[in-house]
């Protein structure tokens, strides 16, 4: 079972650095917020998909994006990660995209997000095929490589490789019996 864990960044910012601001600027602020997220994840009883909510965030600068988004993904991608956690962003505004895209590009990371229009996007430097697979999986919620190969009209080994890459980036979850599960489905409470 992968449980969703909802994290309101502005609430966490105000708790972590005792401020009334809603802007995520400066590296120390980003570091404090990231440590707050890690603390919350540390108390989760099992694997979780952490939904990081940007809805109330005003300005996000490059330093904060690096501390919060990139460092969090890097830490929980590592073999010695402190907990089994996946990440999904919500409430991402257009003006948050540039710093987030910039740090994901710099570190070669992928991350699923729901922007303020409600559209779901795979952020980061992915090939067109991997991006299509991610969208296909988000639509189906769970699928095997064969399911997606048929749906997208691509070869099954290519679908298998693309889904494995998404799982390696922790932008999708590999379940039992060659099934892959979309993070969006887990956010909505679907079982693995």
């Amino acid at each position: 079972m992968v449980e969703p864990a909802f994290i309101d960044l502005v609430a966490l910012l105000r708790k972590s650095v005792t401020t009334l601001y809603s802007d995520l600027v400066t590296r120390p602020t980003g570091r404090a917020v990231r440590l707050g997220i890690e603390q919350q994840l540390g108390s989760a009883p099992g694997p979780c998909v952490s939904v990081i909510d940007f809805s109330q965030v005003g300005i996000l600068d490059f330093s904060c994006a690096d501390e919060i988004v990139a460092k969090l993904l890097l830490r929980y991608r590592a073999a010695d990660r402190p907990a089994e956690a996946f990440f999904f962003l919500r409430g991402v505004a257009e003006h948050h995209r540039e710093p987030i895209d910039c740090v994901l590009d710099r570190h070669g990371l992928l991350l699923g997000a729901e922007v303020r229009t409600g559209e779901r996007l795979l952020l980061g430097p992915a090939s067109d095929e991997v991006r299509r697979l991610w969208h296909g999986l988000e639509e189906l919620r769970r699928a095997t490589p064969a399911d997606l190969a048929r749906r997208l009209g691509i070869a099954e080994p290519a679908a298998q490789a693309g889904l494995a890459a998404l799982a390696g980036h922790r932008a999708a979850v590999q379940g039992p019996a060659w099934q892959y599960v979309a993070l969006g489905a887990l956010v909505s409470g679907a079982a693995l």
Binding site: T19, Y21, D23, V25, T26, R27, P28, T29, G58, I59, L60, D61, F62, S63, D66, E67, A70, K71, E94, H95, E98, P99, C102, V103, R106, H107
Partner: protein
């Protein structure tokens, strides 16, 4: 006492005259004679504070400052909070009159001169400038609302440069004005100055060995500004300046960074600054200016 005549027009170009003259003071106490100053932009004002701080460091005595004789100029400096900060840098007795001078009316500044020491100061600056930036960038520069956020990001990153790399206090200011002579447009100008370790000092431990004898203020600026190198080993560092370059290029603006004896610039087509200069007068720390020009309907580059 070394008497230093502050240029009549005080900006990023004439600052070089000021820095060169200050280098000739050779550790003597300095009198900054600003009586004939007729115009100063944010870089000129924070640069003058920095020059005063350097003079104080080198001689061990607070330098003197003779305030501008022009009432308009002195009032403008007062509205920019220049004299408040000058009282911490220059010998206060000569500033007494200027400090008593009431600032005529509300400040029209985008951001009055503000000290930057800590991340909290950066939060404060970003928060304080938000409403004014929205009004000024929208109405005077014809920028879309999204540009206000990008402007705040630039402001945040240039201020963080002081907090993270200078190891000393710095000052930031921003203003809009009609730059009729050079550009024929309204511009928004952000300037930051500190007298800390500078780019060469900040990057030396991590990068100097690789450059060998070529290591200098100019190569340090190139490493940070063009290649995104940082004093830290973490791969995510150094993105702030890269982000600033990207935003400013989108608006056909200019970024200039001076540090030590060199300066580097991202130069748009409307200016003729050399992209890299070395052999300037030694001046510690880093001084950054960002110029964002007004957008006009027939511009090819859109903010």
């Amino acid at each position: 006492m070394h008497v230093l005549t502050v240029p009549e027009t005080l900006d990023e170009r004439s600052f070089e005259t000021l820095a060169a003259d200050l280098a000739r003071a050779d550790g003597s106490r300095v009198l900054f004679d600003a009586r004939r100053v007729r115009w100063a932009n944010p870089y000129g004002l924070v640069g003058l504070l920095a020059a005063g701080a350097v003079a104080r460091q080198r001689s061990g005595d607070a330098p003197h400052l003779q305030a501008p004789e022009s009432t308009d100029v002195a009032h403008y400096w007062a509205r920019m909070n220049f004299f408040v900060h000058a009282a911490d840098v220059f010998e206060p007795s000569r500033l007494a009159r200027a400090l008593r001078r009431p600032a005529a009316g509300e400040s029209d500044a985008l951001l009055e001169i503000t000290s930057v020491r800590s991340p909290e100061d950066v939060h404060d600056v970003v928060d304080r400038v938000r409403e004014r930036a929205a009004a000024i960038l929208g109405h005077r520069l014809n920028y879309p609302p999204s540009a206000v956020v990008q402007f705040s990001v630039i402001l945040s990153e240039v201020c963080q440069n002081v907090v993270e790399h200078a190891g000393a206090e710095g000052w930031v200011a921003a203003q809009t004005y009609n730059w009729a002579r050079r550009l024929g447009r309204v511009v928004a100008v952000i300037a930051v100055a500190d007298v800390g370790m500078g780019f060469r000092g900040s990057l030396a431990a991590e990068h100097a060995r690789r450059y060998g004898e070529r290591w200098s203020d100019a190569t340090a600026l190139e490493a940070a500004f063009l290649h995104g190198m940082s004093r830290y080993r973490e791969p995510g560092r150094g993105q702030g300046l890269q982000g600033i370059r990207k935003h400013v290029a989108r608006w056909n603006g200019e970024v200039l960074i001076r540090s030590g004896t060199a300066r580097i610039a991202a130069v748009p087509d409307w200016d003729d600054l050399p992209p890299l200069e070395s052999g300037l007068a030694e001046f510690p720390g880093a001084q950054i200016v960002v110029v964002l020009p007004e957008h006009k309907a027939d511009d090819t580059k859109r903010p």
